[in-house]
């Protein structure tokens, strides 16, 4: 402390000089136009450099936030892009021969377009789909459902706005099908495994079946109109009873990737129902008589 005081005492004039010089220069830089300009030009460069460094550092520390925002935006844009691409694809889509034929077949039937909202794959092989159309839209139990490639399944239960569909890939699904161009028909069943293959049973052994033949709905049930494409014969094998063939069918509908479907409102069905009712009525009348 004493040394400090001695030091201060000894160099008072130096300290005073420094202080007064600082004051002078401060005056010079604040009031002298030329000097002030020169001073601020010089310091401006330095200050500008420091400022930009500081800004860089601040920007760098905000990178995480910026990144998060960019990722959010990226995700949003990707989703938007997907949606738009899908719309474009739908607009641009040129129907394949199968789709063309399917459309021709279905032209006579009222179609209720629907979207698959749930596509459940269950371990017990009792898969089912849910579509976003229900009774209010005209969907009824037992109606057929077709997709872009072919048969999808049968409506099992319709609520007001949704419907449960039992697809081909359901263990208890059995759709009456025939080999295109021949009279042979059988039932399409699925026994688990790949969702792309099902079996066509009850084809007589003597039927001349070759690989690649087309399988389509027979129209013997009221569910599907005849001629809706189902798939191609992949392999010809022997049925479980030994009396018939079992054809492995490569399904045209990809059940793992199903979005747009149509419910087939079968006009014929109402007509057949009417006929049945008439028959029942007539029988009743006859009985009454």
């Amino acid at each position: 402390m004493r040394n400090l005081l001695l030091f201060l005492q000894r160099y008072t004039h130096i300290l005073l000089f420094l202080v007064l010089e600082l004051v002078s220069l401060a005056l010079l830089f604040s009031y002298g136009r030329k000097q002030g300009t020169a001073f601020f030009n010089a310091t401006g460069t330095v200050v500008g450099g420091i400022n930009s460094l500081w800004a860089d550092a601040a920007a760098y520390s905000h990178l995480r936030e910026v990144n998060t925002r960019l990722e959010d935006e990226n995700t949003r844009l990707k989703m938007q892009n997907d949606a738009l691409r899908q719309m474009v694809d739908e607009q641009r889509h040129t129907p394949t021969a199968t789709e063309q034929r399917l459309a021709d077949v279905l032209k006579k039937y009222p179609l209720i377009p629907a979207k698959v909202t749930s596509n459940e794959q269950r371990a017990d092989r009792l898969n089912h789909l849910i579509i976003n159309r229900g009774r209010n839209d005209g969907v009824r139990d037992g109606m057929g459902v077709v997709g872009g490639g072919g048969v999808v399944g049968v409506v099992a239960e319709a609520s007001a706005n949704y419907a449960l569909v039992v697809p081909v890939t359901h263990q208890r699904s059995a759709i009456s099908c025939r080999l295109r161009g021949t009279g042979w028909f059988g039932y399409l069943v699925w026994e688990g495994g790949s969702k792309l293959t099902a079996y066509l049973d009850d084809i007589p052994r003597y039927a001349d079946v070759t690989r690649g033949m087309a399988v389509e709905t027979s129209g013997y049930s009221d569910i599907f109109p005849p001629g809706i494409f189902v798939g191609n014969v992949l392999a010809v094998g022997s049925g479980p009873d030994g009396q018939s063939l079992r054809l492995t069918v490569h399904l045209a509908t990809d059940f793992s990737n199903l979005r747009d479907v149509s419910v087939v409102g079968n006009i014929a069905r109402s007509q057949t129902d009417t006929l049945r009712n008439h028959a029942a009525f007539n029988e009743g009348v006859l009985e009454k008589k």
Binding site: F17, E21, V23, A26, L27, Q35, A38
Partner: protein
């Protein structure tokens, strides 16, 4: 030879009139500068600045901070009148700091600073005194013009201005000193 050796020691009764005298000189030099000399611009830029003569009035036993402080005050007041804020103050303050060292440098050889003296033509002889005065003026002028220009771009011009101003200032200081020496009373300004 050294009149300072015979001068009475600085005691309070003497100090007060001495201080007053220095205040007169301070004001006088200031007025001379701002009223008259600042309006002389020989050859466009040489300005006589003899006010550093004030440092010649301070006896050698003056605390050094007084040199610095009075230098600053003198320079600042001149700045106020010449609208060059800080230029004169900085230059004169630095000159004030350097004055005692310059005095040591140009003091008559062998002179010990044991006994205080006031630098003048009488105490130091003309040539040493003039060397001391020239060094003060040179330093002050150089700093003044350097700060005023605030660039080394026109260094030649700066040197020319400094030299011309130094020349003029020294002439003025010599004239003042001559006058003072001629009119000095035996005890007048301790010189």
């Amino acid at each position: 030879m050294f009149a300072a050796a015979s001068q009475p020691p600085l005691n309070p009764p003497v100090l007060l009139p001495d201080t007053l005298t220095k205040v007169y000189w301070f004001v006088g030099l200031l007025l001379l500068q701002v009223v008259l000399l600042d309006h002389i611009a020989l050859l466009g830029y040489a300005i006589p600045m003899p006010y550093v003569y004030f440092f010649c009035l301070l006896p050698t036993n003056t605390p050094r901070w007084v040199y610095v402080a009075t230098g600053f005050a003198l320079g600042l007041l001149i700045d106020v009148f010449t609208a060059t804020p800080g230029v004169g103050a900085a230059a004169c303050c630095a000159t004030g700091l350097a004055a005692p060292y310059l005095l040591q440098l140009f003091a008559p050889s062998g002179y010990a600073f044991d006994e205080p003296f006031v630098p003048s033509s009488r105490t130091m002889e003309w040539m040493p005194f003039l060397r001391f005065a020239v060094s003060l003026v040179l330093l002050n002028c150089f700093l003044y013009f350097l700060l005023e220009a605030f660039t080394l771009m026109y260094f030649g011009r700066l040197l020319l201005t400094t030299l011309l101003s130094t020349l003029l200032s020294t002439a003025f200081i010599a004239a003042i000193e001559k006058l003072r020496a001629a009119t000095a009373r035996p005890r007048g300004l301790n010189a």
